[in-house]
Amino acid sequence: MKEKLVNPNYNVNINGRRRNGSIWRWVLQLSTVVGIIALITLLLNIINGAFGYAVLEARVDPATLAVDGVPLEEQSKEQLMSVLQSNISSAAFKKLESDQPFAERSRANVYQLVIERIVKYDIKASWQLWDSLTRANEIKATAAQEYPSAQLRFISWFTSDFVSRPQSSEALTAGVRTAILGSLWTILFTILLAFPLGVGAAIYLEEYATDNSLNRLIQTNINNLAGVPSIVYGILGLAIFVRALEALTSGEIFGVVDPTTANGRTVLAAGLTLGLLVLPIIIINAQEAIRAVPQSLRKASYGLGATKWQTVWSHVLPNALSGILTGTILAISRAIGETAPLVVVGASTAISFDPSSPFSKFTTLPIQIYQWTSRPQDEFRALAAASILVLLVVLLSLNASAVLLRNRFSRKY
């Protein structure tokens, strides 16, 4: 009886199918977990790199630099200056004075100079956070045995000092202020180029463009540009902004001649290159925001006799603004993290002066990370990890503000 009911060609292996189902469910869940583990590992790896023990050996013992029994750390700016003056050649001192007059320098800056020029700590060895925590005794023993004259210190490379100090070739006194300012300058020009053009193009495509072949070409082209690798934009920037428009990007036509940047490898060129890079992203995001504004608003405005531009300016844009800004912030955070195009455009490898004009040489946070990562010494890798933390904090706050903006101003129709 039972045999008859079951069609022989139809396999109702319910238990087997269920087993299959639960195995695969497990596999799928595991894959998701793997993705999250990857993210956590990435973050832990960076934190692991940014802290840890290091063995420091001073070339000149700081204790010998005490003046009238006042140790180096507690000396005033004037005392530190005299220490500096009596320990380095007068030519070197003059050069420091001409770089930036001592009257304008802060005490911290002078202290940093003393450490850099006279004490000169050498990092003999360093360990990452995990090792420093789990094998502390072992590390202390090794350090005491191999470097008896040196001191072992637990260093947090990621500090507020690190953010405010300028770049330096000494790992202990290096900071990312130059790089952060470079990033800000660059992003300023990126926004100035990409935001008006991007929003303008989005308005054109959504509100004005009729469905003809030219407008379709523009739309397809924008979609394709969004998929072009960023390094290609770097090459384009090198050819156009650095070489062809050198007179503009080096400030020559404005009469600004910065002797250090006779070529066009400047903040301005970098900003414009990144502007072209994020332009398609801004356009696509702004288009979506404009499209979400309901048609009834436009109809009501036309009904009252408003012109097209009046409708767009007073009704469409205010309603799309939060979406446009959110999309722009996301595009900007992409630009802040870009490295490859800026390497090609010609970021400077070592500058210790803050950028002061659009025509300054530039370095940015990601460039700084790249350079420190590429150096074989452990202490520079630690600096790279610390600057990654700075970069991630910047990006996180940008993204958080985008989310807040979206939640605060989003309207439902």
């Binding site: 189902g21 991007g198 690798p229 390094i231 090459i235 384009l236 050819a239 790249y370």
Partner: protein
């Protein structure tokens, strides 16, 4: 005279009076012109890319040391000895891309299927943003991760004499993690576009969740998934900083993923890292390589758009 007046009266009666006609507004036209211009800038960008890269690439191939035929057959890229075979760069690029896709495709599909077909709305709402964080991390950070985590990991598993410090395997693996969220989100979009009625019908005839997901939803979303994979490949080919940091410096014709090799993008970055002098052979070569990169990724992007348009299953 009288006649004319009458005619003009008639015409003005027939036509609505002129102040009801659409007025020409200069301001409006200027604004429209400006907006059109901003839309057209993107066309300039494309023209700029093709023209500038093409021009310098042409100069490169006109140099006496270089011939197109030679660069397609030679397996050495050594500018200072006059060897410009593009193969070492291409094989390294293919290798990192393959390794990345071997990670990103299965994981990305699995995560997307889980999120779209299995996860509760609450789980989805917490898991998705976490995975999107991965997509927002700058690629240089992944480069650091590849060099400082993946390479030591591979070396401790496979042995230090097998795995070099700089190798394409660790760059590729980390690149897979980078591309995972891209594939996941595109695939998930495609899966959730499949109408509920299809799933309900399949459950109705007794399908298990897995069978519905794999045999009904997945085939229906296939065009979107294929597009996601192609975009992923295009992204992997153009990816720069991971390979620049972790894959090694110096072109090398090898198929061993544990040796160092230089990809197209990695080479461009290394060459242009110093102060590159204009019209040198190195300067022109990065334009030729950039053009190659541009056309590869453009082709892939166009194919992916075609697939979506042509093979999309349309449900009313």
């Amino acid at each position: 005279m009288e006649e004319q007046k009458r005619i003009s009266l008639v015409t003005s009666l027939q036509k609505p009076s002129s102040n009801l006609r659409r007025r020409r507004r200069l301001g409006e036209s200027i604004i429209q012109g400006l907006l059109f211009f901003s839309g057209f800038v993107s066309i300039f960008t494309t023209i700029g890319i093709v023209y500038e890269l093409g021009k310098e690439a042409l100069l490169f191939f006109q140099m006496p040391e270089v011939s197109i035929l030679e660069s397609l057959t030679n397996t050495q890229w050594q500018p200072h000895t006059g060897n410009f075979g593009v193969w070492p760069l291409v094989t390294a690029t293919l290798m990192t891309t393959l390794i990345a896709m071997a990670i990103a495709i299965p994981l990305g599909l699995a995560v997307a299927i889980y999120l779209s077909e299995y996860a509760t709305p609450r789980a989805r709402n917490t898991l998705k943003p976490i995975l999107e964080v991965l997509a927002g991390i700058p690629t240089i950070v992944y480069g650091y991760f590849a060099l400082m985590f993946m390479t030591p990991l591979l070396r401790s598993i496979l042995g230090r004499d097998v795995v070099e410090i700089y190798n394409t395997a660790s760059a590729g693996l980390v690149m897979g993690i980078l591309i995972l969220p891209l594939i996941t989100s595109m695939t998930e979009d495609a899966l959730s576009a499949v109408p509920r009625s299809l799933r309900e019908a399949a459950y109705g005839v007794g399908g298990t969740r897995l069978e519905v997901a794999l045999q009904i939803v997945l085939p229906a979303a296939l065009s979107g998934i294929a597009a996601a994979i192609i975009i992923g490949i295009s992204r992997a080919i153009g990816e720069t900083m991971i390979v620049a940091v972790a894959a090694g410096a110096g072109p090398k014709f090898t198929l061993n993923p544990f040796q160092g090799a230089e990809t197209i993008t990695g080479h461009i970055v290394r060459i242009s890292g110093g102060d590159l002098s204009y019209d040198s052979i190195d300067y022109n070569s990065i334009f030729a390589l950039g053009l190659l990169l541009f056309f590869i990724t453009l082709t892939l992007n166009i194919i992916s758009q075609r697939i979506v348009r042509r093979f999309r299953e349309v449900y009313e």
